[in-house]
Symmetry: D2
Subunit: 348 residues, 4 copies
């Protein structure tokens, strides 16, 4: 096996990224070395690229980012039993501590000491990546190969949609980035009564329509509240999935929710948000949930099961495929909103 | 309006039924008089027809049976606001007392003092039927008209399927009478990972296949346990929906269930059943639920929502359409297992 | 029976209140006329007295306020079966419409068309009050008589405490008005691991200590976050019950909550509140619930059951007993924070 | 440290037990060696002693039994961080595989590949026992020392009681062995409305009364159904905790349950049981749960929290304290029903 490899590297504490030759990473007795077949780009990677405030507080360069990927097992540590050389795999990149209260009570997805591969340790924008055995996910051979690298964000969508009852419920999805788009497909596959997608960006609205949302609205120009009331006998939607992280989106979500409904918040607002708690949460008897990552590993089983039914058509979300060294071009496509999910291929 | 009407009547305490001319029923200030457009036959009606032990203990002749129907509002009592003359309606035929502990804590579907129209009071196998306003269900105009009379058993299926998580779960349905067949459609529409239908009767197995069960098995000849383990990595199904009421079906259900799974029991066994609680429930950490009727009126809202998505194709279940006065022939079709759901039309 | 009675009346749209001789109210066939034995004062009554913005938008004078009371049935309408003359009763004063989606799915406590007796119709600050049969609550004879008029706010506390798991959980209660104080007792009786009470007012802190909170803190001077972390291995409390309605209290509540915990919001903030959703709700995977009124009638059954155990000592909360015509003095006691719950007695 | 130790040993496949000198067990890098301070006897140990059918199928002699204990850490493997030498500890003796579906979805307590220390590997009836780090439980110093060895069965009780709502609920506990007795204390501490204890053995009934059950009944002579109906307005109890494993106890439990209630089954019947599913489960809309072990580690946190409140008085359950070598005498005390929980002390 090669000793060095090409990798995307955040070299130092400033904007930008480099393509570099680096050593193939070493792995321990409980680790799996994976040869990356494809990786995909997340908004988090754009934060790292831009070196914004969040990145400055969290990232310690040099770092290989990348936390969405699939690949083939190249080698396994001596204790590893879960997979073997040649297996086609992906991985949960949130590595929980296993020792805290949350980890010991079935809530590892909100472990307080989580380390994220690709954020806190070298990730998958490289030819090889090291994954602890506990976090490897052996892929069902029936899985469409093109979906194998996007399980991390698909898992966010599955986690959010299935965080409460969804079958026979009306659903509004606020924000149609990749996770919002995936959520349209998941909610429909799980028997949502109707899925209304709200998005200000025109490209994303087109994709939401391709994902077969029952209606796609532009909150900056459409009368969303009036539309939703018209569709729901004046009651409001049963479920709001907030995936924009925008203050206005959150407030709109609380407003269009029916009394007694559920709001699941996945999008991360960059600053505190002012909400009319009395009118929109308390008198409404609403339930608001913060959603984080993927349940380990219930979400992964659910995702695998839904993919196997063949009822999730995710192809519209994958808008671009690039060689990994064209990473910077990918960043530009994301910034302009032209791209939704970009797949990167090493060595191509 | 006519003063008399044709009706199917159980005239006295013995097997059989008669077609009779009877007075159009009177209605009170809180009642709705409905002109029946179609009614459908339930296994309960066969019990009444055959005058079996259950019927002997419950039915007080003379009685007009029939508790599945749709029709048009002919007149309303003076206090009624929920519907008006000309509305196309169906009804929840379990009339809860409204005063008991269960009724006052959101569990009216298990009211201890329930009266069932068509069992404890004159029902819908007639040209007209009287329904209390509280129980009338105003049908959405978009509902396929042919489904309007089968909402009672469809509601049983919806209640059972949605009594726990179903999306991304593997499901076994035991017994493919009309409710079992409906449950196949509902589970699939709600994102079940796979639906396995078990049924000893060949006609019913054919219908289960038409309903698009992922596999249809004959428990009297197939190795069901082996098949299920093969499909589930040896784990068993997540959810069992028991709709046969047979002791062997129940025991098989407990056996093929995965550790930590759910069994929802809707089928009514006619006598006590011996079960290996230690192996099949306790060590399994299973959850077993008794399911009864339809939740008032959550199930009705869910049913309406699912029907509006257009993803429930129930047509294979409706095998026969007869004039109401050919009721006895319908009974024969049911007995031989040739028929699944039979629609009856008055005045035709 | 007398034709007129003494009542507290809000005579017109301005601050203040009057004691007046008014007709004993008429009652219909489904109503119960109750001779008031005691009534108690709620913060809502202070809003009505002060004629603040909320009162100006909601109240249509003339109005007899008062929605916490107990009394003896003086007469019943001809359809009434639930109670009879001489019964000792209280009542749920939120009269739900019975027809809306919420009412028909077991959520009458958040009915969108609710009418509150004492707010939208004449209430209990009078010698007699009329209650619809559906809302009367026949009191168990074993109930301590002094608790019979405070079931409405006790029910708020029971509803909030039991809106999620409470046994073996650490709990912070923010705001120690009467409902917060009751919540201390309820949480303790239900096996809370520890109850920490937070309150800025000194009188209320003394009462919280009398209610046997495990600790009582003053958020304006104490390091609440440090204290809670010290008590919970740095994890935070499992459950926050927000009963102050203050922006600072709410924010503090979200902050001291453990990752994966529950916040139940009962206190009503008078304007929108800015919250750090990212840090305090989303990354925390928190569940936030809006709580409203009492579940009809699950909360009432729970309350009755808890009172019968004898483990709720509510006496410290009842700080004052006044003749009803001294209502204005009661208002002063409330304003200065000297009083917690004031009982009013007509004719004394 | 000593190289050999005294231990209770099941030497071969036949009834009886021996006190033997055996080597102090070796421990690996992830293990903890604990010096046993006290161990307690479970019904399982009696099965092993008697060499009944269950024991013959499960136990591979020679074996040191014993799975309830407390002690002091004597040494730790090189990877161990959770505890250190001198710590006072107990342990979860169900060692889950960590790799199966159940383990990877938060249900390790029903792991299909569980190994039980004291059943499948050498246990705690010895001077030393080896525990994997994952399963050690570091005891809070405030825990009453006499309770430290009985956390395993107390955990069974906590798991069963808290498997559904318990506060403000009426509860029947069937079978008053140690776990049933503990359940009385736990249910009371968690705000049960009333706890009714059912037990045929007189000694156990006396203990149930000492544990402050609201009533103690003998199902072989008392009219339990009549009594329960009298106490619950004819409705039945909200919750049944079945801890006898007897067919008659189970059937009685289903019968006294209210419509819509919960039955949690912990007692293990030795053969299949015939139950009237139609009347007692299906028409009742009951929920039946199989309960197994302790949730890892949610139950342990709950148990610790409840013990810290000081509201669990478990002393009546500990009826005997013996030197470990008098194990056989302990067996006799258990057989005659004279003893409830027996503590064994090595080296005394």
């Amino acid at each position: 096996m090669a000793r060095t490899m090409q990798a995307i590297v955040k070299p130092e504490a400033k904007p930008g990224i480099e393509v570099r030759e680096v050593p193939v990473p070493e792995f321990g007795p409980d680790d799996v070395l994976v040869k990356v077949e494809a990786a995909s780009v997340c908004g988090t990677d754009l934060h790292i690229y831009n070196w914004d405030q969040w990145a400055q507080g969290r990232i310690k360069p040099p770092l290989v980012p990348g936390h969405e990927f699939c690949g083939v097992v190249a080698a396994v540590g001596k204790n590893v039993k879960a997979v073997k050389e040649g297996d086609f795999v992906s991985a949960e990149m949130h590595v929980a501590c296993g020792r805290c209260f949350q980890c010991r009570t079935g809530q590892a997805h909100i472990c307080q000491y989580v380390k994220i591969i690709g954020v806190d340790a070298d990730g998958a924008f490289a030819e090889y990546v090291v994954i602890p055995e506990s976090n490897i996910w052996d892929l069902d051979p029936s899985l469409p190969r093109e979906y194998a690298s996007i399980l991390d964000p698909l898992g966010n969508a599955v986690h959010t949609v299935l965080a409460g009852e969804i079958s026979a419920k009306t659903v509004a999805i606020i924000g149609c980035g990749p996770i919002g788009l995936f959520a349209i497909a998941v909610a429909r596959a799980c028997g949502a009564a109707a899925v209304y997608a709200l998005e200000v960006n025109e490209n994303r609205r087109k994709l939401a329509a391709e994902m077969q949302a029952d209606a796609v609205l532009n909150p900056s120009t459409d009368d969303v509240l009036g539309f939703i009331q018209g569709k729901t006998y004046g009651i409001g939607v049963d479920v709001v999935l907030e995936m924009s992280g925008h203050a206005d989106g959150m407030r709109l979500g609380f407003q269009i929710l029916r009394t007694g409904g559920r709001v699941s918040l996945l999008g991360i607002p960059s600053r505190p948000v002012e909400v009319d708690f009395a009118r929109d949460i308390i008198f409404k008897g609403a339930v608001v949930q913060g959603i984080n990552g993927r349940k380990m590993y219930e979400t992964w089983y659910q995702m695998e099961a839904l993919l196997k039914t063949g009822r999730l058509d995710l192809r519209p979300v994958i808008t671009h495929r690039l060689p990994m060294h064209e990473f910077a071009q990918g960043m530009d496509l994301l910034k302009t909103g032209e791209a939704s999910k970009i797949l990167l291929y090493p060595n191509s």
